[in-house]
């Protein structure tokens, strides 16, 4: 009962927030605007899907912001402004993102290190690599058609980018619910030692999950590139905070073994609707940071309380 409540809570929060926003500005409920919020959320949201998987496993991935930046730069450079380069650029970008995730996964799988600190270190190194690689400028020319494709509105309404985010989220949620991999994540996350006894391939799962997180962060980087073009070599900086806040808000805890992607999606949307409201109200943009911090603390505390094991 409590469990169902806690799962539904974030959706109720989202609804309440939307209602409040609609009262503030009738334009808020315009379908085009709502869909646009989903598109704004896509880069962070896609990365947050990966972070959700990692956190269900009992880990955490703070390198996603760096990977997003890295992927955006790398992809743009590989395209060299030519359509025929797009497949190669996408492939190399995703491969490189997976490689970073693999690195995280392998180190964490075979050592008793804190994923939190390790992925922070990885983030630092990846930011550095991005700078070395790009010489400090977001060089790279986006191929014609690339951004147009992702921003094309199906049925004149839903941008491909928003659809990509939703599709990836549904895919991940389905994987969690219906695949052996998803089930194994919950098992390992809720009790690693027991999972080892039950014969689950923990090292392989860990590596695969961090790799997926890297991959999705890479997709997030491509999404960012598609949404706003090449703008900076630090374009994804801070996204790890946002992703983490969304995941925690969505009910996935740091202890692992709990949570789902649907909650994360709601969490991402709550964050973005809240931020847009802050913007539209003309409040100081910086209060977003305070909101984010309080959300991380409050949501963690709330879920700790809800999930406290009675036995």
């Amino acid at each position: 009962m409590r469990r169902t409540l806690s799962a539904a809570a974030i959706w109720l929060v989202l609804l309440a927030l939307l209602a409040a926003a609609a009262l503030l500005s009738p334009g808020f409920l315009d379908p085009a605007y709502l869909v646009n919020i989903v598109r704004q959320a896509a880069p962070v949201g896609i990365a947050a899907v990966g972070v959700t998987l990692v956190m269900i496993l009992g880990g955490v991935d703070l390198s996603v912001g760096a990977i997003i930046s890295f992927a955006a730069v790398l992809c743009a450079v590989q395209m060299e402004g030519r359509v025929e380069n797009i497949p190669f650029a996408l492939a190399t970008t995703l491969a490189a993102s997976v490689a970073i995730g693999l690195f995280n996964g392998i180190v964490i799988a075979f050592n008793r290190v804190s994923p939190f600190i390790l992925t922070l270190g990885t983030a630092l190194a990846v930011y550095g690599l991005t700078q070395v690689y790009s010489g400090g400028t977001a060089r790279g020319v986006v191929a014609p058609g690339f951004r147009e494709f992702f921003n094309f509105r199906l049925g004149d309404l839903v941008p491909v980018l928003a659809l990509t985010f939703v599709a990836l989220a549904i895919l991940a949620e389905a994987a969690l619910r219906t695949t052996r991999y998803g089930r194994s994540l919950y098992l390992v996350g809720s009790n690693r030692a027991a999972a080892a006894l039950a014969g689950l391939p923990i090292a392989r799962l860990t590596i695969a999950t961090y790799a997926i997180s890297g991959l999705l962060a890479g997709v997030g980087g491509i999404a960012l590139l598609a949404r706003s073009g090449v703008s900076s070599t630090f374009a994804g900086r801070g996204f790890e905070f946002d992703a983490l806040a969304a995941v925690v808000l969505g009910g996935t805890t740091f202890e692992g073994g709990r949570g789902n992607v649907a909650g994360t999606v709601a969490g991402v949307l709550v964050l973005f609707v809240a931020f847009n409201m802050v913007n539209m109200l003309g409040l100081d943009y910086n209060s977003q940071l305070i909101v984010k911090g309080v959300i991380i603390i409050a949501a963690s505390a709330a879920y700790t309380r809800l999930n406290r094991d009675p036995g």
């Binding site: 390790l118 930011y127 984010k292 603390i297």
Partner: protein, 316 residues
């Protein structure tokens, strides 16, 4: 004794590394070994040293405090904005700032006791909150540090940086807490095993409160030094310091899992980081590469510091 040898080597490793770096850098870079440059390295390292010494207590207690960097940043802005270059205001403003820093630390402690969430997440959230508070206040440098702080952070007395005195005082104080006080014993116990500590009557909640308060205080002192270094209230002055502090503590041989800490090791590690940065600068290595190097040092440090296979005897 023989069983402890690897651990002993691991614990003294940082001093050997420091020695090696000193020798190498002196040999390879003529500018490095000038007294002025060596004094520079010390002055540059002082804020991190103060922060890392405080964090050593925190990590020994099995906790972690990610909010210290932004807390130091808040102190920088506060001190400069309020004092605005006035000598007369120096003492009250510094006192106020330290009080505030200790209060924020205590708030971390209270929240940690009340909400029972992982200190990592709690202080991570606090990091974001503090950053927001700073930026809501100001998004550009404001005010000026009083001249006394400039003197404290930058000047030398008989060739010795003044800030070194502050670092030494903080290190001795924390060393005394760790080695010679009941609080030190209790925080090592808390870091060893919270459950055991609680059962034998260690007042864990009070210890946690004390440790976080001390951590806040050390962040405040570091902020004072940074304010002196910068001379102005730059809103991002503390960004990233928390990670550097953790790296220094871990490099210095304090177990990330808690239970045992070394102030001297932390100081040596701070010097190692300072020398590496100074030498790379003198060698004209690009900041981008330095960033990669720093990331790799973080990764290497936690790999070297990971808990060894459990030593607890398995019953049966």
């Amino acid at each position: 004794m023989i069983r402890r040898l690897p651990a002993l080597l691991a614990r003294t490793g940082i001093y050997w590394l420091l020695l090696l770096l000193l020798v190498l850098a002196s040999a390879a870079i003529p500018e490095f070994r000038t007294p002025a440059n060596l004094a520079n390295v010390l002055t540059q390292s002082a804020p991190l040293a103060v922060l890392a010494v405080g964090q050593t207590l925190v990590i020994t207690a099995g906790l972690i405090d990610l909010s210290v960097g932004q807390l130091a940043g808040l102190v920088v802005v506060l001190v400069c904005a309020l004092a605005d270059g006035s000598s007369a205001a120096a003492v009250p403003v510094v006192a106020l700032a330290l009080l505030l820093a200790a209060a924020v630390g205590a708030l971390n402690g209270v929240l940690s006791n009340r909400l029972r969430i992982d200190p990592l997440i709690l202080t991570f959230g606090m990091l974001s909150v503090l950053q927001g508070v700073i930026f809501v206040w100001t998004d550009r440098s404001i005010g000026r540090a009083p001249p006394e702080l400039l003197w404290l952070a930058n000047e030398r007395l008989l060739g010795v940086p003044v800030s070194l005195v502050l670092v030494a005082a903080v290190a001795l104080a924390c060393g005394a807490i760790l080695r010679r006080s009941r609080l030190g014993l209790h925080l090592a116990a808390l870091g060893g095993s919270e459950e055991s500590a609680r059962r034998v009557g260690v007042p864990t909640a009070r210890v946690r409160l004390a440790v976080f308060t001390l951590s806040g205080l050390s962040a405040g002192l570091a902020g004072i030094l940074i304010a002196g270094r910068l001379g102005t209230g730059y809103p991002m002055a503390g960004a990233g310091y928390e990670l550097d502090a953790i790296v220094a503590v871990v490099l210095g041989g304090t177990a990330l899992a808690g239970g045992r800490g070394s102030i001297a090791g932390t100081l040596a590690a701070v010097l190692v980081l300072g020398i590496v940065s100074n030498a790379l600068n003198l060698l004209q290595i690009s900041a981008f590469v330095q960033m990669v190097a720093k990331g790799l040092i973080v990764i290497a440090a936690i790999l070297a510091n990971q808990p060894r296979a459990r030593t607890r005897v398995v019953a049966a």
